[in-house]
Symmetry: C3
Subunit: 277 residues, 3 copies
């Protein structure tokens, strides 16, 4: 992938300040807002059925994250998603915990069925749950058995590409190696660090960043998704390298968002480890 597409994707976000409507969980919502601001977007949260559709309308994109779903917000997700679909706004879906409970699995499936999702992002266990495969999600983390490794990369990429074709959207699987695929293409990203799993919400934050990138780069949704993921992984690398002896996961969280805030276009272009498979 041309690294210029990655740096221009970042520049387009910073130049246009995409407004992203997030219907997301209350665990990581504050970090989502600050991460989105860090990357150059602007967040707005609204989850009431009488409020959300109007908010969707004034935004450029929508994030649906089922991390703390409930009957009320599920209904709102459908309503907001319908508006976003009518307006042609990108929708990013995070099926948090799909496979961990029937409600999560079913809600993710229903949102995919009824809405024109642009990007689905999850860990491998969540993504597998969407295929109807026997679920082995370990809470909100991927099952170790589902790890994407150098050994199974080609095989997993084929599965993800097939799923992308079936769902008609971009599928992004994040983990030690990240995979982004459409029916036709698959890209592996080798940025990021293991410590990103030691704070809550790295995935949720990434959802909002992906949304901003896709909104700002409507003609290059795949490249925009890759840029967002590679940039976030790169921010994780910068953040871990900054850690001192007394720092732990809380300092890492701060450094991660800081690194996204300070990420330069050429830093992304040079640091992204992206391979078209």
């Amino acid at each position: 992938m041309d690294s210029k597409l990655l740096s221009s994707a970042l520049e387009n976000v910073r130049a246009t300040t995409p407004l992203v409507h997030c219907i997301t969980n209350y665990v990581t919502v504050n970090d989502c807002a600050n991460a989105l601001l860090a990357c150059g977007g602007s967040p707005i949260m609204a989850d009431d059925i009488d409020d959300a559709p109007a908010i969707t309308r004034i935004c450029g994109g929508l994030v649906l994250n089922i991390g703390t779903l409930n009957a009320r917000t599920i209904e709102t997700m459908h309503a907001a998603g319908k508006v976003a679909g009518e307006l042609g706004h990108p929708i990013v879906l995070d099926p948090v915990g799909a496979g961990a409970s029937p409600l999560r699995t079913d809600t993710a499936a229903a949102l995919i069925d009824e809405l024109p999702i642009t990007v689905v992002r999850g860990n491998m266990s969540e993504i597998k749950a969407l295929t109807g495969a026997a679920a082995a999600t370990r809470g909100v983390d991927a099952n170790p058995d589902d790890a994407v490794t150098e050994d199974n990369l080609a095989e997993v990429a084929a599965i993800v590409r097939e799923l992308a074709g079936k769902l008609g959207c971009i599928v992004a699987v994040t983990g030690a190696i990240d995979l982004v695929a459409t029916a036709e293409r698959a890209v592996a990203i080798r940025n990021g660090r293991a410590i990103m799993g030691k704070i809550t919400g790295t995935g949720c934050m990434l959802d909002t960043i992906i949304a901003a990138y896709v909104v700002a780069n409507p003609d290059h949704a795949l490249e925009a998704t890759v840029a967002a993921i590679a940039g976030w992984g790169l921010a994780g690398e910068v953040a871990e390298d900054r850690m001192g002896e007394l720092d732990g996961n809380a300092s890492f969280r701060t450094y991660l968002i800081d690194a996204a805030f300070n990420m330069a276009a050429d830093q992304l272009a040079n640091g992204a480890r992206v391979e078209e498979l």
Copy 2:
């Protein structure tokens, strides 16, 4: 304005630890609690209709913030506000996103109509939406066209003073230049930094601080509001000056609350840039 009123306002907060009931959004609620603690107050959050009135009763003041409003919490805001009104407790209203959706505009208007609000604080777009002017709110941020500048300051101050008279409360408009007005008086505050807009919740946190200041200074509500706003802007200045090369908006957030925590009375008196118009 006598700078002694500002420093004594701060001292009164620290001396009395005002207990503030916050019905606020779930995006910034944690920062609201920590910012309120930093300035010397004590937070309690309760948004259930069967719980909130009793909590209002044991507190000294109430914050109503509609950032993630829903049918359930709107009802609670009215019920808690009624109790606060009966007890003569100060009420601070933040009409987050008024103008961005009909529900937000209407809810803010209804709360103002039915409750004895003490202070309304918002950005200029939100405040304009309360006047019934054509709304141009850009999500939760002010529309750039609504910026308060040195050029339009006198004109905007007249509008805000008129609104304060109409609403019968203090109106606080925060932005590059902050304005605090009653029907009779208008004060401009020139503290703060642009980076405060790069984290979520600087306005929400300020709401809770204003509440603590007004509770602790019942005979000087205008001066207390000015002290809270000037002090918060000053904390933003201290925080930005503390930033190193690798720091971004996440470190700024930490430094901002830290600066509020460490704010001394004479620091506020000397650093506040307050002008009675």
Copy 3:
């Protein structure tokens, strides 16, 4: 208490990564997740009645925290608690604000009545409210009159032990001196610093850590609870010692979670100030 039991309690958490289902308040939930990750556990939040029981089932323990309770989540707490009870999973209850409103007092009492709670943790005012004593809770903080001091320690320990016997569970009272008791035993812990009360959520975070410790040490629930509390207090000591001149409560919050993340087994064994009464 043998300090080896404390260090092995910590090691067992790190070795087994206990998955803890938290039905907790939206004020401190993000810090709860990161604190639980810091100590070596793994969080999952789910509060919908159609989702929570399935999530409880895949976890090892359950935290019920009524900090921002509402009719919907109270029902879910009972349903999830019932499942946890059937499966023999430890349940930690935090009666936040019991004594501050009838709903909180009654909800805490009902949860204790109907569920096989393993540990109740609160400040002395909240714990007293559970005994039916005239409530004097000051919001979410303990009433100063309820402080546990060297002078009243023996007397308070007797009360807490009696309550533990009555409730049939471990009762943990945290404050300047912490007390952990069953009907037969009482332990005083003298770790921690006053600044822990200057951030929101030190108690809530501790709830989740206690849960992880009890899940990982099923045969030593009392010692596990003591280890969690002593370790958290010790983390507070490390965090405050790390503070520089410009640091305030926000930096302290980061340092506190960092210190839990970096806590070594021998550091806990050597630093815990635990006295069997």
